[in-house]
Every structure is written in structure tokens, then in C-alpha cells.
């Protein structure tokens, strides 16, 4: 049974939950009880077993394998860390991982398998946006909580009351970038490059609305397909237009190519290059080479920072995996796993307990040492780390953590998506 206990992380049971939130948790609580009653002993059994089984799925093979494997690294590290510290309330954590090959039907089927055959009590990490959206209804129906780590599409969480997100909504990133460009740097004219799929469109949506509001001018806007690497012609044209800044959404291969081309043509750093959270994927680190100095990215966390927790984490991660770089997926997946395990510690080892505890989470510290609040939409009020790329040190340096609620609130963006 779920009971509120103070934990080592700043869950704040004293703070009054917002009205709708309270209603939600109460309703969810009731539903959870009903479900527990209906399914009889199944979940009770799971709660009593010797380990806490959590599951993850993602693309481990196929074109997006890089992302999935990185996420798995982060999750495995979190699990190992937890087990090394004694587990959750004395129980060890067991991880079940399935490859969905980036294929939606596959995702649906492995999720079913995870829930029915393996009996996982929670799912962490999630997968790409498309696969997560496909799997979400199944997970939700089975009343298993999931914390999606690196899908930024609204559709993953919206309407599925067991799905939480540990990442920003894409639109927020664009919104923040555009505000920085206009308010902090006084840029006036922009070029926009949009990766034409859900995530890319989201970022640009946020950016465009900000520019609209702040009366910025968009001199050039082009869309491109996700695997695109050829940007020379477009960058040439943008250079000719003489804009102040370029805002681009995309996955790291495209970001990297565009950055390199832009710097080679000397469009940058004269103009400022702004990119979204994929900037910390492995492909960027591998591909950017000596270019990219001064590119500003909107990230969901930053490692390393000066915070002691972060520094320790980076050191431990290096020791465990041999990786100096904490990639985007790894970091987010790590945090999402920590969150779930923390919820288990607070609430109990069953699916409902975890779900309930997740819903009660008022604040959680991410690996950058920043406190994050949850909203009633199960979206976090995730501070955006604006970071600048240091080519000499081959890492991102913090510019600032954007914590202004007006900028990072994900809730206003829900109205754009059905």
C-alpha cells in the first residue's frame, strides 16, 4: 500500500498538491485499488518477490541503435548503482531489456511480453517517440507505470495516465532558444531549419511562436528529412541572407553536418547557431571534429557541471562503462530509472505503488543537481540547460540553467497537439 515517506531526495509531502493533481491522484488511487482487486494476486505476487523487475525497450539494432544502446547504458548503470547501494528496501533490482528495432509493431509486442511474461512492475526509458506512442496505450491499459526518457513528443504522455515523461517537451526547447536569442543577445533576423518529423517540428513550433511574440523576423525556413546530411547549398543561401542566428532542430547526424558546413563556410560563428537536445548524442561528439565552437544547445541536463553529485556521477560512469561522455539518451534514461527506483522506495514495489508514488512526486533532483518539479500532466518542469560547445575541450560548457517557469512550462504546448 502506498504511503508517503520522506526520502533522501526532496519529495515534498508538505507542499499542498494542486487541486487537479490531488483529484487525479485520488482517482488514480481508486482505480489502482480496483485494478489490484480485479487482477487478484498477480501484482501482489510481484510485489512480494525477491527482486523488483523493471523493463525497458528501445532500438538496440537497426538504424537508431545508437540511441537505444546509449539509453540502455544509462539504465543499467542506474540499476547497478542502486543494487550496489543495497537495492530498494532490501530488494535487488532486475532489469529486463527488449529490442524493438525501431519498429512500432515490434514495440507493441515486446511491451506485451514484458508485462505479461516477465511481470515487470514499471518501465523505464521508453523508446523513440514513434515507438513509445505506439506502445503507450498497451502499457496504460495494463496499468504499468512508465517514465519515458528521451521521447519529446507530446503524444507519448498525453491522455495516458500511467505514462510520465522525464524529458522536456520539444516545443519548450525552441521557446527557450528563441527567448535567449532575442532577449539575451538581441538577435533580430533568423533562419530556421526544421527536421520534418514530430520532434523537429515541435522545437520549431516553440521557436516560431516565440519569435512571433517577440517580433523577430524569420528570413528563411526550410524542412529536411531526418537522415539528411547535405546542407551545403542551404547554408550557402543562408550565408547570403546575412541572418543573426540560425535555429535548427534535428537528430545529431544532421546537426553535426549542418554545423560543420556552416562553420566551414564561415557562416558561423558570425551568426549564432542554436540547436536542440540531440546535441549531446554520441554522433555529435564523434562527428563535429574541430568545428562547432560556440554553438548553443538547449539540453535537458548537463554533465559535467560543478555540482558534486554530477561530478561523482561522471566519475562513476566512466569507471563503470569507460565512457567519458554522458550522452543525451544515457543521462535521461539514468535519471528516469533513478526516479522510478526512488518511487519504488517511497511507495512500494508493486506497479500501483510505484505509479502512485510517481504521481505524488513534487520534486526530484536530476543528475545536474537541479531540482525538478512535476506537473499534474505528468510532465516535468524541466529546467533547460543552455550550453555552449567548446571545441578545444570537446564538451559543452554551461551558459545558464533556464529555470524561469514561464519559459519551461510544458503545459501550454499541449493545446497544439490532439
Amino acid at each position: 500500500m502506498a504511503s508517503l515517506q520522506p526520502a533522501s531526495f526532496n519529495c515534498d509531502p508538505v507542499a499542498a498538491p494542486e487541486r487537479s493533481g490531488a483529484r487525479l491522484t485520488r482517482r488514480a488511487f481508486g482505480a489502482g485499488m480496483l485494478a489490484a482487486g480485479l487482477t487478484g494476486g498477480h501484482r501482489a505476487l510481484a510485489a512480494d518477490s525477491a527482486t523488483i523487475k523493471i523493463g525497458t525497450f528501445g532500438p538496440f539494432t537497426g538504424p537508431a541503435a545508437g540511441l537505444g544502446l546509449e539509453a540502455k547504458k544509462g539504465i543499467e548503470f542506474a540499476v547497478a548503482q542502486s543494487n550496489a547501494a543495497g537495492g530498494i528496501n532490501g530488494k535487488k533490482v532486475e532489469l529486463v531489456a527488449y529490442d524493438d528495432r525501431g519498429n512500432r509493431a515490434e514495440a507493441v509486442s515486446v511491451v506485451r511480453k514484458m508485462i505479461e511474461n516477465d511481470g515487470v512492475v514499471a518501465i523505464v526509458g521508453g523508446s523513440l517517440s514513434l515507438t513509445s506512442i505506439a506502445a503507450a496505450p498497451v502499457i496504460n491499459e495494463a496499468k504499468i507505470p512508465m517514465v519515458a526518457a528521451y521521447s519529446n513528443a507530446v503524444g507519448v504522455v498525453k491522455g495516458e495516465d500511467h505514462i510520465f515523461r522525464w524529458a522536456s517537451v520539444a516545443d519548450v526547447q525552441g521557446w527557450v532558444l528563441a527567448h535567449h536569442a532575442m532577449r539575451e543577445r538581441n538577435f533580430k533576423t533568423f533562419a530556421i531549419l526544421m527536421q520534418d518529423e514530430e520532434y523537429g517540428r515541435g522545437i520549431v513550433n516553440g521557436a516560431e511562436r516565440a519569435l512571433d511574440e517577440l517580433k523577430g523576423k524569420v528570413a528563411y525556413k526550410k524542412a529536411f528529412a531526418p537522415a539528411e546530411r547535405e546542407f551545403r547549398a542551404i547554408m550557402t543561401e543562408i550565408k547570403g541572407l546575412g541572418v543573426d542566428a540560425v535555429i535548427m532542430s534535428g537528430f545529431s547526424p544532421s546537426l553535426t553536418s549542418a554545423a560543420r558546413t556552416g562553420y566551414e563556410l564561415e557562416l558561423f560563428p558570425k551568426a549564432q547557431f542554436y540547436i536542440g537536445c540531440s546535441a549531446t548524442e554520441i554522433n555529435w561528439y564523434n562527428g563535429i571534429g574541430s568545428y562547432g565552437q560556440g554553438t548553443i544547445a538547449a539540453l535537458e541536463f548537463l554533465a559535467p557541471t560543478d555540482h558534486p553529485f554530477t561530478r561523482q556521477f561522471v566519475a562513476d560512469y566512466l569507471k563503470a562503462t569507460g565512457e567519458k561522455v554522458v550522452s543525451h539518451q544515457a543521462g535521461l534514461a539514468y535519471d528516469s530509472t533513478r526516479l522510478v527506483l526512488d518511487a519504488a522506495k517511497r511507495g512500494g514495489a508493486s506497479a500501483d505503488a510505484i505509479w502512485h508514488a510517481l504521481g505524488e512526486t513534487r520534486s526530484f533532483m536530476n543528475l545536474s543537481g537541479v531540482e525538478v518539479k512535476y506537473t499534474e500532466l505528468r510532465e516535468p518542469l524541466l529546467p533547460i540547460a543552455l550550453a555552449s560547445w567548446d571545441a578545444a575541450g570537446q564538451q559543452y560548457k554551461l551558459v545558464k540553467f533556464e529555470q524561469d517557469a514561464a519559459l519551461i512550462d510544458p503545459r501550454p504546448w499541449y493545446k497544439y497537439y490532439n
Partner: protein, 568 residues
């Protein structure tokens, strides 16, 4: 998995039956899926209403994409369909009313009388649909349309000259196959209940193609098996899940190397084993029936043919049946046929001879419509026929055989002949959909087979026959058209003496029945013996025309041949 079987069967019709390489089946599946999705989510139509609309949409898409496919040949077709599927996927992503890259979600479940079909209910629905599609496919295969498709697949040119309208039947294949695939798409959409443009792209299309090739292209069992195996394969290999793609690719290669007909294709190792076991089982159960007699000796097979019946050669005062005037055909700078004018009268046996390269086959090609003429005209039964496509000309009553035989290799002898008969009677779609199993036309086919001494080989696969029999099969097939005029291109080549005599008698008996025959021959003796009149071509021009006697004594002819036999 049932869903994929349905889509695979759709592709099977287009590629397997009609032989049109379509690498973009995803387009049709996607059309069906998106149509259904848009109708049910956007327009609020119920599943059962949306279904036929979606099917119609898919079929229409098949038709539309089939049109350009008519103009291109095999390899270009494959690449064209690849291009189409990429364009389709692109359009789905970029045009907003398709929901963009996220696709369409929250598609309502199919409902039966108000309540949504659960998992089992849907499974039942899919299985029903699958059975329906299988039954329909079987039916089509046995109907005349299936024969037409087989003909086009085996040898399109031959099909054309016996009157099968290739374009029309190809379009049928595209439309029907696309509808099946669209059905699969609709079921898919309501099963996953969330579709994106990436679901129906090139990879999906190749996936389906792999299914039918894996299982056995052109067979129903192959399509279903392929779909089942390939859907389950990833599951089976989950324990080596890291290497799944590698195994998949390797399987494809291995299969193509060792069993390209597919696991259960006709003639594959597995299938042959299964069928021989099945036959043994059947005969064991039914008791021994008399084994079919071996091939009868040639002489014994020629009872009904009268010898020595030459029939009366036509008198001169008749209206000509076929008339060419200054017929020419050029290839680049070379004039293969140069202003040739001939006139052939009904019930005549007319010979065309000349040295190699004289243009004889070109003349036949022009007469049968296989090649267009560059100049001059052809009149048949009073009306112009130059410029008409081969199947039209065949329909008007001209049949032909080819110098290099073009049988429908994979079909039985009976089916080869039926093709000719069928095109005459069942050209329209409505007739084409009739089954040919018990048709009255079979009797007609049997009669033709009897005349050409092929009766004993009725069930034999054409590709297994020796050349002599194949030549007779060509004639038999052309006879199926019940033509008024038949063009025989070197039918006597490669025949033994006895076979040649039989053929001679056959030709004479055909003439006795009222047919006119034009033949190209190199064998002088036969030509002189058989023909009423002869035209001689040399280097594209007619250098002589007349009775055999006249030709033999013609100086120009002798000069052209330089040493041709001077005696009959």
C-alpha cells in the same frame, strides 16, 4: 500475421501471377490503411462503411499506378515502383491532411453491432478475410483471367498475338492485387490503431516481396507461408537478437542461391517431396489406377488425318483476303522491307521464301502487328489493319507462330491452347471471370489437340516437350483463335521426316476447312510441294511472285539463291 498474408497475396497477383515486378506494394497497403483511418477518424464513418471505400481507394491507386507501368519493361518497372513508393511515403509525411510524420492515431477499433471487437474477435475477422482472399485468389487462378495473366507472365508477346490484351489484363492484375493489399492495410490500421507514413515505405514493400519469394512466387501457399515465417522469424531468433538482421539478410541470399522458387514453389525441393508423398498416399488409398500410357508412336497417333487431300487451290477470280501495298519497314537507315506488295486469296497456301535476312520474318511481324510499319498499308478482309496492336489483329482472325518457339512454358499443353480459345471468347472482364474448369471450350481445345496430334500430351507441361511437339503446339495455340489466316514461321525447321509429313497433312486439312495459310520456309522441297503460290523476297524487296513452277524457273530467283535446288 494474417494481415501480412493478405497483403502478400495481393502482391502475388501482381507479381506472381501476372509477372509484373512491383516493388512498391506498400503504396496500396498504405492507401487502404490511410483511407480507412481518415474515414474513421476524420469523417467518423464506421468500420464497415469505411472498408469498401478504402478498398475502392486502394484499387484505384492500383489502377493509376498500373497505367505508367504499362509503358515500361521489366527492370524499369521494378525501379519505377521503387520510386513510387518513396514518393508516396514522402507525400504522406509532408502533406498535412495525412497527419504528418506522426501519422494518424487513435483509430477506433472495428465494431460488430455496437461493441468493439476484442482481440479474439479481430483475429476471427482477419482469418475470415484471409480465407476469403485465398478463395478469391484460387478462383481467379482457375478462371480465364488467371490464364491470361499466366500467358502474359510467361511470354507477353505470344500472349499478345493470340489475342490477350496485355495492357488490359495487367491493369486488372494491378487493380485486384492492390485491392487485396489495401484490405490488408485497412485491417492493419484497425489492429495497431496507429499508422505512420513509415509503415508503408520501401522496406515494407521489400518485406512483402521477400515473403512471396521466400514461400514460392506465384503460389498461394507460398504467399501465406512466407508471411507466416517472416513474421515469426524475428521471434524465433530473439535469442540472437543482436544478429537478427544479419540472419535475415543471409537467409534471403541463401534462399536465392539454393531455392529461388521459394520454399513451396512449384518444383522446389520441399514441394516436390510433399507432392510425391501426397500422390503416393492418394494412389495407395484409391488403389492402383492404370498408369497413363507412354507417348504413342507418331504413326499410330495420326489416324484421322487424310492423306493426299490437297483440296482445290482457289480460282483466280476471288476477292483477296490479305493485301499489302508498298509495305515498308525501316530500322534506322536500314530498310528491312522495301515496298513489298503481295496479295493472298482465301484458301490459298502462300509461301514466302528468300535468303537469310531478306525480311521474311519482318513481313510477318508487320502482318501480325508486332512491329509497326514505316510505310505502306495492309488490308485484311477489306479493312486496314496496319497500326493495330497484335491482340486486335488476332481478334480479327490472323494467327501466327514464331520462328523461335514461344510456348507458355509453365502451363500445360491444354492451357496453352485454351489461352487462344479464351482470348476469343472471354476478352471482356465479365467473361474473363468465369471459371474454365468445366468449360465447353475445353472440348474445343481437345479437338484442336487431336488434330495436331497432341492429344496424348494434354496435361504435360509445355516446357518439357521436345521441339517438334512445341512447333505443333504453336500451331495448336494459334488454331484456338479459329483464325481465317494463319502465318507459319519456319514451322518445319528441326522436324524429322515423319513429323514433317504429318505437318504437311495438317496444313492441307486446314486449308480444306477454309483456312488460308502463309508460310515462311527454307525447305525448298516442302515449299514447292505445298504452296499454291510463292513470293520471293531478297534484301527487303519482292523479286518474284507466282506458282512454284514459275518461281523455280525465274532467273532473278536463281540468281538470288545461287544454287538453290532447281527441282521440286
Amino acid at each position: 500475421m494474417g494481415i501480412w498474408s493478405i497483403v502478400a497475396l495481393g502482391l502475388n497477383i501482381i507479381t506472381g501471377y501476372a509477372g509484373q515486378f512491383n516493388l512498391g506494394i506498400g503504396v496500396y497497403m498504405g492507401t487502404g490503411a490511410y483511407a480507412a483511418a481518415l474515414l474513421t477518424t476524420g469523417a467518423g464513418l464506421g468500420f464497415w462503411l469505411a472498408l469498401p471505400c478504402a478498398l475502392a481507394a486502394a484499387g484505384a491507386m492500383g489502377f493509376v499506378t498500373g497505367l505508367p507501368a504499362l509503358r515500361v519493361r521489366e527492370d524499369a518497372l521494378a525501379v519505377l515502383t521503387i520510386g513510387l513508393v518513396f514518393v508516396f511515403e514522402s507525400l504522406l509525411i509532408y502533406l498535412p491532411w495525412f497527419g504528418g510524420p506522426v501519422g494518424i492515431g487513435r483509430i477506433p477499433a472495428a465494431a460488430l453491432s455496437g461493441s468493439a471487437l476484442g482481440k479474439n474477435g479481430y483475429l476471427a475477422l482477419v482469418l475470415t478475410a484471409l480465407l476469403f482472399v485465398i478463395a478469391l485468389t484460387l478462383y481467379l487462378k482457375r478462371a480465364w483471367i488467371g490464364l491470361a495473366w499466366a500467358g502474359i507472365r510467361e511470354n507477353e508477346l505470344a500472349a499478345d498475338v493470340i489475342g490477350v490484351h496485355p495492357a488490359r489484363f495487367k491493369l486488372y492484375a494491378f487493380t485486384i492485387g492492390a485491392s487485396f493489399a489495401g484490405l490488408g492495410g485497412v485491417l492493419y490500421a484497425h489492429f495497431i490503431r496507429y499508422i505512420t507514413p513509415y509503415d508503408f515505405g520501401f522496406l515494407t514493400s521489400i518485406y512483402v516481396l521477400t515473403m512471396i519469394v521466400f514461400g514460392g512466387i506465384g503460389t498461394i501457399r507460398g504467399a501465406v507461408l512466407g508471411a507466416c515465417v517472416l513474421t515469426f522469424l524475428p521471434e524465433l531468433f530473439r535469442f540472437v537478437q543482436d544478429y537478427r538482421n544479419l540472419i535475415y539478410g543471409g537467409t534471403l541470399i541463401g534462399l536465392m542461391l539454393y531455392e529461388p522458387r521459394g520454399l513451396l514453389g512449384d518444383g522446389s525441393f520441399v514441394w516436390r517431396r510433399l507432392t510425391t508423398r501426397w500422390h503416393r498416399l492418394r494412389t495407395a488409398i484409391a488403389g492402383h489406377k492404370a498408369a497413363p500410357s507412354g507417348k504413342p508412336a507418331l504413326a499410330a497417333a495420326a489416324p484421322g488425318v487424310q492423306k493426299g487431300n490437297v483440296g482445290a487451290p482457289p480460282t483466280g477470280a476471288q476477292e483477296s483476303l490479305l493485301q499489302t501495298r508498298d509495305l515498308s519497314r525501316g530500322f534506322g537507315g536500314l530498310l528491312a522491307l522495301n515496298a513489298v506488295s503481295i496479295e493472298v486469296f482465301p484458301r490459298e497456301i502462300f509461301g514466302v521464301i528468300g535468303p537469310n535476312g531478306a525480311g521474311k520474318t519482318t513481313l510477318f511481324n508487320l502482318l501480325s502487328g508486332t512491329l509497326p510499319c514505316s510505310g505502306g498499308g495492309i488490308r485484311f478482309k477489306g479493312s486496314r489493319i496496319n497500326g493495330l496492336p497484335p491482340h486486335r489483329i488476332a481478334g480479327l482472325g490472323i494467327g501466327r507462330t514464331f520462328q523461335i518457339v514461344r510456348p507458355f512454358g509453365e502451363l500445360s499443353v491444354m492451357d496453352n491452347v485454351l489461352a487462344g480459345i479464351g482470348s476469343r471468347h472471354c476478352g471482356r472482364l465479365v467473361d474473363a471471370l468465369a471459371p474454365r474448369g468445366r468449360s465447353a471450350y475445353r472440348a474445343e481445345a481437345r479437338a484442336i489437340l487431336a488434330r495436331t496430334d497432341l492429344g496424348a500430351y494434354e496435361r504435360e507441361t509445355a516446357a518439357n516437350l521436345p521441339l517438334g511437339l512445341l512447333r505443333r503446339l504453336e500451331i495448336a495455340r494459334a488454331l484456338g483463335l479459329s483464325p481465317d489466316l494463319i502465318l507459319l514461321d519456319e514451322s518445319f525447321s528441326g522436324l524429322s521426316h515423319a513429323e514433317a509429313r504429318s505437318l504437311l497433312d495438317l496444313i492441307r486439312s486446314l486449308r480444306a476447312e477454309g483456312m488460308t495459310i502463309i508460310l515462311i520456309e527454307h525447305n525448298m522441297r516442302i515449299t514447292m510441294e505445298l504452296c499454291d503460290r510463292i513470293a520471293v523476297l531478297d534484301r527487303g524487296a519482292k523479286i518474284a511472285e507466282g506458282t512454284p513452277r514459275e518461281i523455280q524457273n525465274d532467273a532473278a530467283v536463281i540468281a538470288a539463291y545461287l544454287g538453290a535446288e532447281a527441282h521440286a
